[in-house]
Subunit: 277 residues, 2 copies
């Protein structure tokens, strides 16, 4: 929530805004693939690991980070059971992580946008419990964990930032638990869209209009709903003027009401009639 500020770069090249409805490669991408860009020049600077460490310290960090060639849609970054060698920071594109429950069915545990770190849940066992798949063309920074750990021991600011990132992840997960345990289907979808909205915003993209890079199925899975329900909700939201949706492109038309819906409980609310088809 805090660190807006110097997203100037991303903001300058990024916002696709109303680029038209015809298909485009998939918009919310800061395409840095070709650039040989160091952390210090990266637009994700203050969302990612570098945040809050000095320039000299940053140089040490840059030395251990590798770039990986871009992943294509559906490519795995890692699979459950893989040895964890490195953490990954999304540089552009988006990634979905999902776990397999005891009985072997998929549970989507998160969607990850540029600047977000992947693989934190693998540190404890040294084995990835989740799969990570690219939702679109995606590039990532690979950060060998042993070297990161070693560096964190020498650079207090880095250690602190890693603790912070992991802590934030725990907080996010707790928030999602609340969503799943207590909220109605409309509240879940609304909260999900608002989360995307604000995360896109932090990255310099439009908070109103953005592309969903994940399928309805993934959304439903993530939110603990059936695909049909998600589909119906989009229709209802659109009918009630909350948003407009065309395939993957979503525009939030009434932010205030969206927040109301996201806060709304299963049923009983003191004073507020929930929209209903």
């Amino acid at each position: 929530m805090s660190s807006l500020g110097y997203l100037g770069y991303a903001a300058a090249i990024a916002p696709p805004q109303a680029t038209g409805t015809e298909r485009m490669p998939s918009s919310n991408i800061v395409d840095l693939h070709g650039l040989k860009q160091a952390c210090s020049a990266c637009s994700l600077h203050d969302l990612c690991i570098p945040m809050g460490i000095t320039n000299e310290e940053l140089e040490s960090l840059e030395k251990i980070i590798n770039r990986r060639r871009p992943l294509h849609r559906g490519d795995y970054l890692y699979r459950p059971g893989d040895r964890m060698e490195a953490l990954y920071a999304v540089r552009s594109g988006s990634v979905k992580t999902s776990a397999l429950s005891d009985d072997g069915q998929e549970q989507v545990t998160g969607f990850h946008l540029p600047g977000e770190l992947l693989g934190l849940d693998a540190i404890s066992e040294g084995i990835h419990p989740c799969a990570a798949r690219a939702l679109e063309t995606t590039s990532v920074c690979e950060i060998p964990f042993d070297r990161l750990e070693e560096l964190a021991g020498r650079v207090p600011g880095l250690q602190r930032q890693l603790f912070r990132i992991m802590s934030r992840e725990i907080q996010t997960d707790e928030h999602l638990m609340t969503l799943l345990a207590k909220k109605s289907s409309d509240a879940r979808l609304a909260a999900f869209l608002l989360s995307l909205s604000s995360r896109f915003g932090e990255r310099g993209f439009s908070r109103q209009e953005f592309n969903l890079t994940m399928s309805r199925n993934d959304i439903a899975n993530y939110l603990g709903l059936a695909v049909e329900t998600v589909s119906r909700l989009f229709t209802r939201f659109q009918e009630s003027g909350l948003l407009s949706v065309d395939r993957k492109l979503v525009e939030i038309l009434d932010m205030d009401r969206m927040h109301q819906v996201a806060g709304a409980q299963t049923v009983d609310e003191p004073h507020s009639d929930k929209h209903r088809g």
Copy 2:
């Protein structure tokens, strides 16, 4: 799952086993209140922070850890909005953590047994997003975070263990997300009981029989169910011979079937008739 081993101490004094049905102060307690016991002698040694660090390093850790006088049932360890000064390790007793959702209703985010760390979600903001309340008479170790952080920079094993603990927390949360998103009410309760069972087991208590220190309400809240549902489930589980329950005391009678139930999906299962009324 890993580290059984030298739980000898806890095991020796702990297991209440079938102590009789009449009320007792609340059993799953290793009462160390009065003892001036250092980490090195603590029975929770290899579940808690000390795990995997050398004896000399342990001494440095012990120096920064404070004991707090025992909390009583209902006492707050911290409240949402409190500044985070320290992490806490449960030494004996049990603690419930809960968050307030946007609309101000409680969501129980976890129950914490001896050896478990509290407050990890507060690191990122420096403010506790959750409340922590004792479920029974409980004592905790207080670990000032700034000093812990500083020490972790000097003691690689400690840093690593902290990363591991936070990572494990993330994994646990993901597991709970799956539970909430995908599982039926029976599966949720079964999984919850099995989680308690195995955690009690790790601490040297009986895996079959234990006391629930939390109310039905807390369980329901945690699992995203209504109290009435939880109550009915206990009744059904008992009727079907899965467990026997008397007020707070639970005995799991059929572990195998409990695992089956915990793994079971909302509905469709290939070959296994779910017990029903």
